[in-house]
Each structure stands twice: as C-alpha cells, then as structure tokens.
Symmetry: none
Subunit: 75 residues, 5 copies
C-alpha cells in the first residue's frame, strides 16, 4: 500500500476517536441533566464545572478531527 492510500484509511479510523468523545459528552450531559432535574436550584452553581468537563472532553474529539484533517490535507 502506498502512503497516498494509507492516509485516507487513517483519516477514516481517526473518526472513531470522535465517536468516543461523543459517548463521553452524552454521558456527561445526561448525568448532569438527571441531577439538575432532581435539584434544579443547584444547577446554576455547578454550571461552571459542567462547562469545564465539556471543554476537556470535546477537546479530545477535536484532537481526533485534527488528526483526520491533517492526514487528508497536510501529510
């Protein structure tokens, strides 16, 4: 296989990493919302931590997207 072909397969595989970040984000927001519906008064106070957790999880998905785009266009 030539490098020209391998990078296209690699870009496809890199998307699986995005899927994992998607699972994590769904779990994060799902549990937050379940807790927020049980105790809505406290939800605003935890919003900063929700955003922090969202940012670091989303970052891993964006890194995967970066690797995929890098493999398609830059290598």
């Amino acid at each position: 296989m030539e490098a020209d072909a391998a990078k296209l397969i690699g870009a496809g595989i890199a998307c699986i990493g995005m899927g994992g970040a998607g699972v994590g984000l769904g779990s994060l927001f799902g549990h937050f919302l379940e807790g927020a519906l049980r105790n809505p008064a406290a939800a605003d106070g935890q919003f900063g931590r929700l955003i922090f957790g969202f940012a670091v999880t989303e970052a891993l998905g964006i890194f995967s997207l970066l690797i995929a785009l890098l493999l398609i266009f830059a290598v």
Copy 2:
C-alpha cells in the same frame, strides 16, 4: 492498495464515529427523560442545557459524516 480503493474503506470506517455519537445522544436524552419524568415541573427550565448538550454531541457525529463524505467525493 490504491488511493482510489483506500478512500472507500476509510469512508466506511468513519461511520463508526457516527455510531459513537449515537450512543452519546441516546444516553443524553435517556437520562434527561428519566429525570423529567421524576420532576416534570423542572423540565422546561433545563431544556436549554439539553439543547446545548445535544448540539455539541451531534456535532461530533456530523464531523464524522463530513469526513466520510469528504473521503468519498472530495479526495
């Protein structure tokens, strides 16, 4: 393998990333609905955060779709 063949396999693999986002969305809405059924009065107040979580999770799935379509039609 030639690049012509590799991109078709890569597009198929990229769909696994969509599957991960699907797992996340199901978990997100499932936990929200379980909480909303326990405390329906608070469900409207958390709807904005549900949509926010939905948007960032769906985005990762759409990125995977983008890579798949890119591999099929643009490379």
Copy 3:
C-alpha cells in the same frame, strides 16, 4: 485491492455506525420507559421530547445507512 472490492468492505464497516445508533436508541427508550413506569401520569407530557431525541439519534444511524448504500450503488 481494487476500488471495486474496497467499496464492499467499506459498506460492511459502515454498518457498525448503525449499531452504535442502535445502542443509543435502546438506552434512550429504556431510560424513558423506566421513568414513565415510575410516573405514568407525566409520560404524555414528555412524549414530544422523546420523539425529538429519537429523531436525532435515528438520523445518525440513517446517515451510516446512507454511506453504506452510497458505497454499494453510487460509487
């Protein structure tokens, strides 16, 4: 491997994405039903959100199906 063979492998792999959406849908309806059985009176009021969550999760599975059909018939 020629492109003619690769697209058939790619179409098969794309189905894993449908499997992920299936996990998500199962989790979504499962948690909804658990909540609905605890508080059946509120279930009708959340039905709209259930359908919304179902639609966006199913969409990711349909996108994977689309890529699979595209790989078999259109490429």
Copy 4:
C-alpha cells in the same frame, strides 16, 4: 506496505485511544455532577479529587495524541 504508509494508518488508529479517554472523562464528570447536584454543599470538598481523576484520565488521551503525532511527524 512500506513504513511510510504504515505510520499514517498507525496515527489514525492511535486516535481510538483518545476516544476511550473521552468516554472516561464524560463518565467521570457526569457522575461527579450528578452527586454534586444531590449534595452541593460537599462538592467543593471533593473538587481536588475530581481534578486528580481528570488529570490522570486526560493524561492517557494526551499520550495517545502524542503517539499519533509522533507517528505522523517524527518517525
């Protein structure tokens, strides 16, 4: 297959490790937030452990990113 091609496929596969760390981070923050919403007064006292858990989980994702970048640019 030449090493030139193999490293690009390897970089793509390394992204799956990032996805796993993403699943872990989502689960970590999700459960923390659910607990914090049930007992907001204690949330600040456990914040140090949240950050410790976040750091060691994120580290595994960053190691995967490191391997991916190493494979693309350094090998």
Copy 5:
C-alpha cells in the same frame, strides 16, 4: 508487509489499550465521587482504596504506552 512497517501499525493499535484504561479510570473516579458526595464524612477513609484502584488501572494504560513506545523506538 515488512517488519519496519508493521511495528508502526502495531504502535497505533497499542493506543486502543490506553483508551480502555481511560474508560476504566473515568468510571472508577466517577463512581467514587458520586458515593463521596452522598456521604462526604466517609470519603477520606476510602481514599487509600481509591488510590489502589487508580494505580492498578493506570498501570494497564502505562503498559500500553510502554509497548507503543517500544514498538516505535526499540524494536
């Protein structure tokens, strides 16, 4: 395929092991924190066991990293 190429693919695949350890760490700390927030007074007494669980889980991720680096640089 030559051994020169195979070891680079192997290094990428080794990262999947890191991802699995990441899922485990997230689940470990997440469940600990949820329990610690329900009963904060007992959290300090269980901290030693948290660290023990963390160490053996992290070790598996580090072993994967070791194999990946070994494949790239030492073989």
